[in-house]
């Protein structure tokens, strides 16, 4: 049973490694710095059509067009920031998974902080009541 599970897991890992290396075949680079930049950009940029996945994980026509565009830009020596700015100018902050800080996104940015504060408050209250209860019992 354990053996079966283990081999299944190994196969999954190997497959994921193979697919992660796929872009290398289609997009050749002479400079390994450029290549690394290209691959990391594909992982960080979002596919505008299939909103759940990044460019690396998508095969939609628009994703392939954008990959080609990123490839050209990186090959011509553009930095990571420059490529991102280029795409933000066309597709908005959406494409870099980086929502802007403005009224309609306040909940997104500040929500977790508030939940943290509320949780902290609840824990404190619980601890305090316990403490005073045990003191009262003595």
């Amino acid at each position: 049973m354990f053996k079966k599970f283990f081999s299944l897991m190994l196969i999954t890992i190997i497959y994921s490694l193979v697919s992660a290396n796929e872009p290398k075949v289609i997009y050749p680079f002479e400079d390994s710095v450029h290549e690394e930049r290209f691959l990391s950009l594909l992982n960080e940029l979002r596919c505008p059509k299939c909103q759940g996945s990044n460019l690396a994980g998508s095969n939609a026509p628009i994703a392939n067009d954008l990959k080609r565009e990123v490839y050209k830009l990186v090959k011509s020596g553009k930095t990571e920031e420059e490529v991102k700015t280029y795409l933000i100018d066309r597709y908005g902050n959406f494409i870099v998974y980086d929502p802007p800080f403005r009224p309609d996104t306040y909940a997104l940015w500040l929500g977790p902080f508030f939940i943290f504060l509320i949780t902290l408050f609840i824990i404190l209250v619980i601890l305090l009541t316990r403490f005073s209860n045990s003191k009262g019992n003595q």
């Binding site: 505008p48 059509k49 909103q51 026509p61 628009i62 067009d65 954008l66 565009e69 933000i88 100018d89 066309r90 597709y91 908005g92 902050n93 959406f94 909940a107 509320i118 609840i122 209250v125 619980i126 009541t129």
Partner: protein, 177 residues
């Protein structure tokens, strides 16, 4: 006090359910349009009708205009086609086509059979101008005002309703000036 405290997790859970549910039903398909209030990007692409005719930004000169991104593989484009034909009859507006990642022959056949609502179509097989416009699917429609500035963008089929809600006001505004 203790009873209220015991109910706290339930209350928090309830609030979370309501908040998350409201996000779930929110329409999130439309991306923000960075190009609104910007000028039409520069381009150099062949005309659909004639590959030797190289079009550029200055070819889009009968303003105000709509730029409609379409393709033969795009089903929703067929839906909006009759309405584009109607718009063609408006003397105050020009409709330009951006034929997006398409086959030239198929596209020309479609225009011949179904009618051609466009002044001309730009043939963008690689999706080059489409990337500059921030297009992520067809159909998409842009309104370009008299000054060559993009004022509005719509993703999805352009229907009478969409036209009235999103575009018509710009046409009126342009006529007033």
């Amino acid at each position: 006090m203790k009873r209220i405290l015991n109910l706290m997790p339930l209350v928090v859970f309830g609030i979370l359910v309501v908040v998350l549910y409201s996000f779930l039903t929110q329409e999130n398909e439309q991306l923000e349009s960075v190009l609104v209030d910007q000028s039409v990007p520069e381009f150099k692409l062949p005309a659909l009708e004639n590959p030797n005719n190289i079009l550029s930004k200055s070819s889009v000169n009968k303003l105000p205009a709509l730029i409609n991104v379409w393709a033969t593989w795009c089903i929703a484009c067929r839906v909006e086609h009759p309405f584009l034909m109607q718009l063609k009859n408006k003397s105050t507006l020009t409709v330009y086509g951006l034929n997006y990642k398409d086959d030239r022959k198929k596209a020309l056949d479609l225009l011949e059979n179904e009618g051609n609502p466009f002044e001309f179509s730009i043939f963008d097989q690689q999706g080059k101008l489409a990337i500059d416009l921030g297009v992520y699917g067809a159909p998409e429609t842009f309104f370009v005002d008299k000054e060559g500035i993009i004022r509005e963008r719509h993703v999805g089929a352009l229907t009478q309703k969409v036209w009235k809600e999103k575009f018509e006001k710009f046409l009126n505004e342009d006529n007033d000036v």
